[in-house]
Each structure stands twice: as structure tokens, then as C-alpha cells.
Symmetry: C2
Subunit: 146 residues, 2 copies
């Protein structure tokens, strides 16, 4: 029995440099505002490779040994599952270079939390900051952390 | 642009009780042998709920606060992505009850590593035991840990 379902696979990465965190002010018309950088996973691409590639494209930085902090999921307008693999990277090289995706800034956690964030992004943050939380599930009115 | 791909979503859980780990001697004709218990994620089910449900079905135990340790992926015989979300649970209640899926035993890590395991399951173990490892990617001849 085939048990597949159509899924969109994406990643997002919190890059930390001491007490500063890299944020992207996303131009995306569907989901504008402050988030972390990230993007789509290509077919046959590992999640590790996808997040390294996307971070390079959106920030100019080469991250090393990103760690999976957890996963977010929601159902998109086609009622299909959309997954975001959340990574944390503390090891990186290169110089910051912005892309068409949006402007980049280094903020403290406190500054981040007091900024206007992209829709519902504040509900993603515990997956990055609380080691006991590894999933954010959004589905209709359901908005739960596990 | 729709960027979905067909994906099979599953889970697997290492349940720890002191220095003992619960293993399942899987009857599955496609993937027989020693692994941890787990199974499929249903549509609109969170990964957390799916692993709690599957562990209850296969072991009789009710796990609490399972933590996502990482993810395994491979391409199945239809060349479609197959994901396994790897959980660790140390908090559980109830009494062990076997299902048709296979026999259960409590082993130490050392006993586990010296057992004959299901195909390639030994390559999954670092995702459970090494906090720095959060992905196991299998694709054709590619067999990598990140």
C-alpha cells in the first residue's frame, strides 16, 4: 500500500554569532516580515545540504554542522502538508551578502522578540530556543507546540 | 509554483528505561529484524501524536514528551522520498504488550550493538546516540550522516 502524501519540504536556520542572531526581513508577498533565512529542499537533496545551500544563497555565509532543532508543519491553501526543518548554526564563514529575498540584520534575542515578526513566527521561536520543544503544528485552528 | 513531492512520513522511537532500551524484532517482510518500534504518520496528524499512537499500538506503553532526535530519509522503490522521524522517550507509563508487529525486549546499548539488526539500522544509531548528528541520508549508494 502506497502511503505517500504530497509534501512541500523547506528549511529555516537561526545563525548565532555570540548573542546576536541573523534575521531576514523577507520580501515574500505570501509571508512578508522578519524571520530567519531558509528555503526549499530540492528533489534528492538532503536536508543538511538544502539548508547549507539556501543560507549561502540568501546570506552569503557558509554554515557548517547545522543542527536540526525541530520541525514546523502546517496545511497550505491546497490542504497539503508543508514542512519546515528548523536548524541552528553557530559555525559559519564568509561575509554577509544580501539577496533579493530581503534585508539582513544581526539582532539580540530580546530585540528579535520585540520586533514585528512575520505572521505566527513568534510561535515558531520556542522550537529554536527551548530544547524540550521539537515541533510546531499548525492546522486550521490548531496551533500546538510539542 | 507548487513545489510538493510525494513523501511517506513515518516515525520511530527509542524508549529508554535507565540503561535499557526497548527493541522490536520486526516481522515486517520488507524490513525484518531488530529496530525500535514506530510506524506511519496519518494525514493531518502531528509527528508527536503519530509517535505516541504508534508506540501505544506496538508496545502498550504511553510515552510522554518524546523528543525529536533527528530524521532519516531514503528513496523507496518508486523513487519517492521516505522520511522517518527519530524520537527519544524517557518518560512513559503502562505495561509492555506485544502486537503482531513483533517481539519486544529491553537491551543495553552494548547488547543492542552486538545483535543482528535490521538492514542498515546500525547506520541509524548515531542519530539517536550522538547529539551532534541529526540526519541520516540514504540515496542509491549515498549513505551519509549529518
Amino acid at each position: 500500500m502506497n502511503r505517500t502524501e504530497p509534501v512541500t519540504l523547506t528549511n529555516m536556520c537561526m545563525i548565532k554569532n555570540g548573542n546576536k542572531i541573523l534575521v531576514l526581513d523577507r520580501n515574500d508577498p505570501v509571508w512578508p516580515g522578519l524571520t530567519f533565512p531558509g528555503g526549499h529542499v530540492d528533489k534528492h537533496e538532503s536536508f543538511h545540504d538544502s539548508v547549507v545551500r539556501e543560507i549561502k544563497e540568501e546570506t552569503g555565509l557558509t554554515i557548517k554542522n547545522p543542527h536540526l532543532a525541530g520541525v514546523k508543519q502546517f496545511y497550505d491553501k491546497n490542504n497539503e502538508r508543508y514542512l519546515v526543518f528548523f536548524y541552528i548554526a553557530t559555525d559559519f564563514s564568509g561575509s554577509l551578502q544580501e539577496s533579493d529575498e530581503g534585508k539582513l540584520s544581526w539582532l539580540t534575542k530580546d530585540e528579535l522578540e520585540h520586533h514585528k515578526l512575520a505572521y505566527n513566527f513568534d510561535h515558531d521561536l520556542p522550537v529554536y530556543f527551548d530544547e524540550k520543544i521539537s515541533e510546531h503544528m499548525l492546522d486550521g485552528k490548531r496551533d500546538e507546540l510539542f
